[in-house]
Symmetry: C2
Subunit: 238 residues, 2 copies
DNA sequence: CTAATAGTGTCTCTGAGACACTATCGG
DNA sequence: CCGATAGTGTCTCAGAGACACTATTAG
């Protein structure tokens, strides 16, 4: 394993990991952003940015481990839904030099989060509807967020992803609401129930009384590590 | 732009770009591999690997540009279908140190390629069916190839990707053959034609005589920079 | 004519969408 | 009883799959 360093002396890009963390809060899709420190030597001082940072070659065994570490640090959540989104790299995206970031995207239930406030870097939920072109994010994080949103909205059409936005157990009406919030349009109840149950990724877990007149069946995911793919989408006929 | 180097003195991972280049040759899906040099200081000497290498912070403006450069160097092809596949990074994947690779995947027509042979690194097409667990690829390139195959087979079900495996103009029977080769199963002719034409991504380009008894209509892509998504898949009924 | 490939017509059936309906609770 | 939410039944229709059919060429 004694690494040969010969001819590896060229300049290496900076390597970071950034995470787009989504949740649904107040019936709105929200993303977690941190405010960058304001020092004069900092890039994008005081701008909002995705949580993330440099890979630590001593602490992190892999990119995924690095993402998990950063997510745990910020939110206290151990095992959210986490998938790779892509990578962005180039000469000009960071004024400090050629840099490449590995972006991940995560879904979690709002109430499972205890935001950890680093006084230098305050963290806050931002409704995605309220920041589209408004305040510009640091680096190319606006592009990354955009890609994450497209991926999320796309996958929601044909997967069980929104289940990760809810604490278990949850009811079918609650789950339907998650789909509707992410997609931004109502879904037919009957069709939704038929498909969700036919997809066979839920198991019953007793009745829940969530304050509505009639108690509803509570459900849990059969396998929290698997995502269900529906054969077709929820698209309206149009 | 004068970059502050203060506090950026920690160790940086090695950064590479690797490309999974697919084509169809002899009615088989094939992938381009290069043989690693055999020097005693080289990792995985003489093993087959995906084409790729270190990002050059002077030559490459971005990850995508880096991928294009490497692809052009190896195959002489300027504008193939090229998309990002994902990234793989960790402490142990390269014996020379913590490294992260940005993987891309490309599709091109076999006859558009003039393989550039670097005497130190011979390049050759390998039928994917013939190397599954057989010869182990260098680094984690087996995993990357596996991911590329899954992505390709998956997307072929509902996109026009196989069109990039053919030189233009091509006939519908030729295009159908590309789908069948990648999917590894026959497709119904009538349904295929209906859907391909309804998807409206082809434009007619006169009749072609490809040696078969009856000449067939030749087609070109309306927009070589866009991929068509079908509303449903080609899956057989059960 | 025949063989071979290009291209079309037609039947069936699944499953999604729309929407009206019933069921069960609190008050 | 009523209102509200949970959950079901039913009609229709687009579109995919299966497969038999016609069309056009070479010899």
């Amino acid at each position: 394993m004694a690494a040969k360093k010969t001819s590896l002396s060229f300049e290496r890009p900076l390597t970071t990991v950034d995470i787009v963390i989504f949740t649904v809060l107040d019936e709105q899709l929200q993303v977690l952003l941190v405010q960058r420190p304001g020092g004069p030597e900092e890039p994008y001082p005081n701008a909002w940015a995705l949580p993330g940072g440099f890979v630590d070659v001593d602490k992190d065994d892999s990119l995924l481990a690095c993402a998990r570490r950063k997510l745990l640090d910020k939110t206290g959540v151990k095992s959210p839904y986490l998938e790779q989104l892509g990578s962005w790299g180039g000469k000009t995206r960071d004024p400090r030099g050629w840099s490449a970031t590995h972006a991940y995207f995560a879904l979690l239930a709002a109430d499972s989060v205890k935001l950890v406030q680093d006084e230098a870097k305050p963290a806050r939920w931002h409704p995605v509807a309220e920041l589209s072109p408004r305040k510009r994010l640091a680096f190319d994080h606006g592009d990354i967020l955009q890609a994450a949103l497209e991926r999320l909205r796309n996958k929601v059409e044909y997967t069980s992803l929104p289940a990760f936005l809810l604490p278990e157990p949850f009811t079918l009406p609650q789950l339907q609401k998650m789909y509707e919030v992410v997609l931004g349009r109502p879904i037919d109840k009957s069709g939704f129930r038929t498909r969700a149950l036919a997809a066979d990724f839920l198991k019953e877990d007793g009745f829940l009384d969530v304050g509505s007149p009639r108690p509803a069946m509570g459900y849990r995911l059969k396998d929290r590590s698997a995502v269900m793919y529906f054969p077709r989408t929820f698209s309206p006929r149009s």
